[in-house]
Amino acid sequence: MTALPTGAAGFLHRFDGLRARLPGARLPWIQALREQAADAFRAQGFPTRRVEAWKYTDLRQVADAGFEEALSVVDSAPALPPAHGSARVVFVDGRSRPDLSTLDGVAYGIESLAAALEAQEGRLGSLARPLEQPMVALNTMLFEDGLVVTVPAGVAGGVLDLVSLGTASERPEAFHPRHLIRLEAGASLTLIETATGPDGARYLHNPVFEIEIGFGATLTHARIQQEAPRAFQLATVYARVEKGGTYDNFTLNAGGKLVRNEIHTLLAGPAATCHMNGAQLLRDGQHADTTTVLDHAAPDCASRQTYKTVLMGKSRGVFQGRIHVHQVAQRTDGYQMNQALLLSPEAEIDSKPQLEIYADDVKCSHGATVGQIDADQLFYLRARGITEARARSMLVEAFLTEAVEGVQDETARAALGAAVTGWWDGQEATA
């Protein structure tokens, strides 16, 4: 067996081999998108740390792994994470599995991208920027499937589970799903995404979301990242929020070896709101990066961002948060907070807030704290008879609970709370 080519060359090589067989190969507009993306990826390759946006996250271990395309679907019944509602779509290695999905009583449009590709002209690629983002270029070049959701005007969509499973195979696999979510005026949806895989699996999950939130619509988007311990997830989310709309994103980074959660939100209409919150829970050897890019491009919009990271062993966390307040965005109300709890002297957190404000009537604040467990709080608990180990555990859990409590949607909040508690209890059990 010959070694697979690695790095950008490996993926380009695969694109050359697959281009005639990829979904949409006969659609000129898809062809054009893919070729453009391939050119961009060929020119830029994997981002290196010399690129400002990737200064703290080194992708060499991803580039150096030789990835296979995921093999054709193996008919098995993989273990699925708990469901949070009645509707659930399941993807295995990036391909939709209708046999594992349940869509009973869904009052809005759900299709697989592979099946509905032809109808997505003008929609697919309307928000993603492959020419600027190499990982998005890679996704555009090689995507095979994804979720297409359209919630019609005024429809309350309820809860939808999106499950992504990576499977174990001898060689690392890569998959690049493209998800298109559209909420029309006044619609609502709670999308709870769980990405996971079995312990031994090695894969790259490189999803791109294009999310359109219409007039007065509300999308709650809970992302529970529990990838396999040796897996990589590099996710890019693009969201555009129209007048009076709300995007409530919470990303929990708990699994994987190296992960990046990059969110670009555009507040495009007046009085739009976005929450980008999250927690990163890192064990020894893990690297998690949350990068947010927020554009306040209309007046009277509000944004809230709180990210909390707990770091153990030799783990590394990154938070980069850029807020761009355009000149028209008067009366912007922006808040950004990044807090880290270091439980080990070897752990490292890098925090880079960036505010660019071009409007003059703006309320924008940001802050960052890095610390250890507070000695006064610890003593207070111990003075009440609580053992040191239990007291530490209570304080870490409290730190995390606070992050999740801001999520408005009850189902999403409960799902995230359970994931956080499960992670911490698992940590306690192995400690």
Binding site: D376, Y380, A383, R384, I386, A398, E402, E405
Partner: protein, 248 residues
Amino acid sequence: MLKIEGLTAEIDGKQILKGIDLKVPTGEIHAIMGPNGSGKSTLSYVLSGREGYEITGGSVTFGGLDLLAMAPEERAAAGLFLAFQYPVELPGVGNAMFLRTALNAIRKGRGESEMDAMQFLKMARERLKALQISEDMLKRGVNVGFSGGEKKRNEVLQMALLQPKLAILDETDSGLDIDALKIVSDGVNALRGPGFSALVITHYQRLLDYIVPDRVHVLMNGRIVQSGGPELAKQLEETGYASVQAAA
């Protein structure tokens, strides 16, 4: 109950306690009075086991146990309770969960069975009522957003639930208005009995009108310089600490 002999302690190389001798027999309430900087809070922290203080000499026994050799949680389990001068805020830790965890830790130490949430709630409600604390306080984060008076009442609530053998009240009167002071004092007096001792640390005599001590000790410059009956507190109120210093 509590026996302190020749206790000396320092923080950051600075000696604060310079040889404390004190006995609090079972069932008695003793007051320690003294001006700012006399070592009152240091004494309460050293007795409850806070880190950062170096014990350089002397001994403390509590019910026959070597108190200084015990971890803070072991001291609490043995029946020692410190009511904090500045109760600590614990955002994200629910007060009810905190109180029940503490109660069960102490009960475990006493060899008693753990209380479930229902049993606990019933007990807590009774105590809340007696201390005129709204039930809403159970749902909030520990001390988060509490007023000064609410924090102190929360301390006394904890004491009422944990039923210690010895309570150290570190300036529990500070920041309390007269009504809150009465409520807090009633909470302490309710525990009074043959199995309960207390060390009431205060700057002012006012609190001792409500919690009448068996003995009053004056702490100045790291030493007990005078001891007497409850009348000593009244005398201090009239003449001030300077007169004691002059006499010492």
